[in-house]
């Protein structure tokens, strides 16, 4: 798996420790690239002091602010200061509210995490049983339906799916709230929208993993022993098919965090993704930067954790060192 970096599984002749160190190093590099992109973009977007000061500001005001923000220093120095500040979590103040950006982030983060969690839970809840069922009843009606479900999932524009769900359940039927954060009911549509594609993916993953396991000798043996079919399926089958599914589910959660911008916008979900878009509209760049950096950091470290988890769980990688 090897992940996210797309670096593939650890080559067999490399010992596990240097693989892990390499992956960690790569994550740091990736984060540095994100920070650099954001830095360059903010410098491209024009002089920030015009955003901070109103039109009546004098030349002297501008100079003071320029010096205060360190904008009079050479660019490499500015970059160094910027990286240091980001590293210690200092993102400055919001241009609009004048409050520290970190406060805004902390306000919004729980909503994003909540939505991601529920979406992941929902994907597994839909994907695993359906996947098992289609593996057992291979070629059946439900198997075909599951295939259509999965193929559609790969081609569906998420934001459009969200709107159509709002149209159907919110407007036509009027049974579910169309947006905002509140009780459990408010979570249904956004979580399904965010999780639709992934539940299709989990379904297909479970199906093929189950098919592989069901063809193995120990399943045949379990059946020969006369075990009840349900025991064979759930205890012997699913348990062995679960490794890729679980790793994948965790990875999905991470990706939800990175991709929440779209779903949160559609459902007016007060999370980090929506904060970023709102701040783009109001040109509140410090908040935009911080939001993107925080989400990226979560995304990258999450991916790193999954890779580490996977290399620990996967015996083929784990035993290389011994």
């Amino acid at each position: 798996m090897g992940g996210v970096g797309g670096s593939g599984a650890a080559p067999p002749d490399v010992d596990i420790l240097s693989y892990l160190v390499g992956r960690a190093f790569q994550t740091v590099l990736s984060m540095l690239v994100v920070v650099s992109i954001v830095f360059v973009l903010t410098r491209l977007s024009g002089n920030p002091i015009y955003l901070l000061l109103d039109v009546n500001a004098t030349q002297r005001d501008q100079e003071i602010l320029t010096r205060h923000l360190g904008l009079d220093k050479p660019l490499p120095v500015q970059y160094g200061i910027y990286v240091m500040n980001v590293a210690v979590g200092d993102f400055g103040n919001s241009i609009i509210s004048r409050r520290p950006v970190t406060e805004h982030i902390w306000e919004r983060l729980p909503a994003t995490v909540e939505l991601g969690f529920v979406a992941m839970f929902l994907s597994v809840l839909i994907g695993v049983p359906l996947g098992m069922y289609s593996a057992v009843r291979r070629g059946g009606v439900l198997d075909t339906a599951a295939r259509v479900f999965a193929v559609l999932g790969q081609s569906m524009p998420t934001f459009w799916l969200g709107l159509m769900l709002i149209l159907f359940f919110g407007v036509v039927l009027g049974v579910l709230p169309a947006g905002g954060r509140g009780g459990l009911l408010h979570l249904v549509l956004p979580a399904f929208t965010l999780g639709y594609f992934t539940s299709a993916a989990i379904l297909r993953l479970t199906r093929s993993a189950m098919l592989e396991v069901l063809g193995s000798d120990y399943i045949k043996f379990a059946r020969l022993k006369g075990l009840h079919e349900q025991v064979v399926l759930w205890k012997h089958g699913l348990r062995n098919a679960l490794l890729p599914v679980v790793t994948f589910a965790v990875l999905l959660f991470v990706q939800f965090l990175g991709g929440a911008v779209v779903t949160e916008t559609v459902f007016a979900w007060p999370g980090l993704g929506r904060l970023i878009l709102e701040s783009i509209t109001t040109r509140d760049y410090p908040v935009v930067q911080a939001g993107v950096l925080v989400l990226s950091a979560l995304y990258l470290t999450g991916n790193l954790c999954v890779d580490l988890l996977y290399s620990y769980l996967n015996p083929r990688i784990r035993h290389v060192s011994s």
Partner: protein, 307 residues
Amino acid sequence: MSPRRRRLPWFAGLVLAALVVAAVFAPYLAPHSPTEGDLIKKSIPPIWMEGGNPEHPLGTDRFGRDVLSRIIWGSRISLVVSLVAIGVAGTLGTLLGLVSGYRGGRTDAVLMRLTDIGLSLPTILIAVVMVAVSEPSFRNVVLVIALLLWPRFARQVRGETLAIKEHDFVALAVVAGRSSAWIIRRHIFPNVVPTLLVISTLQVGYVILLEGTLSFLGVGVPPPNPAWGLMIADGRGFLATAWWMSLFPGLAMLLTVLAVNLMGDWLRDHLDPRLRQVGPQVELLGPAVTQPESTPARGIAAASGEP
């Protein structure tokens, strides 16, 4: 893959043909202007509903613009964005992949590390800030998408190059004193073309979804262009009263991406059996597969248009 998959997917072919015809002949096919509307005729429902007007089969939007005409013109945007973005990313990625795979050693190490980093970035997030800060425009959307896309090509082409390099005809060319550039051009590149074709097709759907997402979020193709994502966003506030404004462009997008993905699957099975790998990933990755040695989720993320 089941034998069923081996047949040419006629449905996908039909949809794609219709799309290309719509894009090329938009000025002749579209009954109305895509950008100018008649405010008197705003929010007319589709023809089969009460109050429908035969002049506007799919209804009009809140500015009185014909939805069908906008969808037809919109196909042009989707097609041009994906062709240009994939063209740029494909050229860059292929060049880097060829050099990386052929040269090996330190060049390879550096380039592949760069590729890994590129692949690990949260796509949508980066795209959103990039376009937002640099003013949404057609050119910026294409550039940003291309910038996020090239590593997929580089990685795949490098893998292919490594395999082709081992063949005797390459060794012979080296013995014959041919230059590296000549060998890459004459021996390696032609053998990479089928793979390239498959990856490109598989990326079209992704690019259309990404462009649609950016346009929907207001950081893509700027209005009043009839980009499908923009049309869907336009109708967002009128779901209860004028749902057709959002429904039809989304349907067009869904059908297009579906068709491209099915076609890509078919091409992959036909042209490049190596891209199909054994094991559970195959099924899962589906049309999104571009890097066999990568994680299942990478492909998934790619296809979902959500990083």
